[in-house]
Symmetry: C2
Subunit: 345 residues, 2 copies
Amino acid sequence: MARKPKSRSQGTSADGTSSVTLIDVARMAGVAPMTVSRALNRPELVREETQKKVLAAVRATGYVPNMLAGGLASSRSRLVAVLLPTIASSIFAETVQALMDGLSVANYQTLIGLTGYSASREEALVEALLGRRPDAIVLAGTDHTSTTVDRLTRAGIPVVEIWDLTEKPIDMAIGFSHEQVGRDVARHLVKKGYRRFGVISVNDPRGLRRCESFKAELARQGIGDCPFETLPAPATLEGGRRGLWRMLEYTRPDIIVCSSDTLAEGVLMEAASRGMHVPDDLAVMGFGDLTMAAQLHPALSTVKVGGADIGKRTAAALLERFQMAAARGPVCIDTGFSIIDRESA
Amino acid sequence: MARKPKSRSQGTSADGTSSVTLIDVARMAGVAPMTVSRALNRPELVREETQKKVLAAVRATGYVPNMLAGGLASSRSRLVAVLLPTIASSIFAETVQALMDGLSVANYQTLIGLTGYSASREEALVEALLGRRPDAIVLAGTDHTSTTVDRLTRAGIPVVEIWDLTEKPIDMAIGFSHEQVGRDVARHLVKKGYRRFGVISVNDPRGLRRCESFKAELARQGIGDCPFETLPAPATLEGGRRGLWRMLEYTRPDIIVCSSDTLAEGVLMEAASRGMHVPDDLAVMGFGDLTMAAQLHPALSTVKVGGADIGKRTAAALLERFQMAAARGPVCIDTGFSIIDRESA
DNA sequence: CTGTTAGCGCGTTCAC
DNA sequence: GTGAACGCGCTAACAG
């Protein structure tokens, strides 16, 4: 009754490639392959004694489950695809880190794609990542090409749009309203008595929306004039310096509102090098997470948004979905933001 | 001769899940499945006319190749696993970004694992990532558990250890010598005339090695006394401030050497808030990439290491390996570093 | 609780 | 140039 051995190279082959399979483990443990699978994935369905034999065989062989095969068979890849503009901006980095941490405790892994703020790159990446059959997909923003939206919808998996909010999310949205940030900041600063404003923003869609909303609210409050400097993304300290430099050539604002903390830090540096005192000669307001910048410049006001919080809540929302395996209706989570004002402290 | 239709849910099912397969495309195009596969992966083997029919069918069906299946069949996953301590440190972020960029042009995707500087987490992650059968694995540093080294070796794929150099890499090493950084900085500063040093470092293995090497070289030059402050990782501005604060309680160095630019920026801030002038009252030396910090503080000297360069060269080295499919002997690439001195500028 | 059967969707290998 | 079988390594579904 000897079974004919497989023809291809098995076991530890000459090139050092060990392709130990479930079958090898099963043979060594003296059980059926299916039992090994169960012992590894659903130990509660297996007798303790069997379990031990299997684990011993796993260790002895150095078996590492092939998740390509497992994913194919079960149509659950335990992979989450994440699409972000960039990772070299600390604010997104915090989100990814938190998201990965949250997912990894449930044995999900993360496939990252970098779009560089380009919708066409996003479109290509969505297709490429979908090829891995992820169990969910997370992407920054709510502004996608129609092809992207179409593919996302048809993928039939949870889709989370983060870092923004929208009336009609593809599936879920977790973030905050950039319009509201702009409006609230404007109201706050006007109430504090500021009248001469300047805005410095990088050319990033959400940053621009915050700034536009800010200007619109100012206009509503009767302040029509608001100098605006735009710089190419990504935000850098140098950009902040240059922005202030250019602005001071034609106006003298009391306060500069920046689209990000990095820019704000650059502004602070330029102000310092001109001997301007912050916030008396010039106040500065940033935007971002407190982790790096703002907690330290005693004079820098800022809008705090929880980059890590977004990641954490995204992970939680996904794990919940995975558990009940039922696609409920649209979900929106407003992670909010808060205005940190250094002068009132 | 009607073929019995498959039993499982196919086509666009009720739940919105479209599982279009190669077979569906083939049927629509009126060719064999194999021809579709070729048309997509090796178009040069297919007649132009056939090619067109296939592409039309692909578009019409919205087919997205299942790379789990493809990877399983071909044992080439087009996946590269990357293990890093963290991504929320801009220096690693640049490396990842460059690495991903380099790999993505060749249609490789990136699976990231975050170790948080823990060797045991690295060990667990290596096992988990290896389960995806990546075509290569990249990991930070050269200090791994023996289990990790063993698994890596047996995986039979290219392994790149980055951000460090070693006599005997597992496979390839791409980075620079942290000992040499410490030594060169010490020589440089002594030659410039500094005698009273202070070192502030976060508790990160490579950072500590740089600082230890720095102190050792100082000792060799006859400077045995060198105050040393260590802070918990990760590096923050706050850490830099606190480090300087603590140090100034018991000593008055002429120059502070920091394990990273972030720390150095914190030191600069603390110095500024004490009214100390940099570099006259206190010189500061950082370490990292020029992208963010150093290019802007006119008074901050630093060691420039190419974080992005490491990523780029890693991608290049891997793509080369993939092409010749032959595992050659060990490879070491020294990406070097350079000391940027603000005073001599 | 454990084993058996039958694919998952694709690429390799050979015929044609 | 194109097609037909076969199996990659695993798990769902059912039988025992």
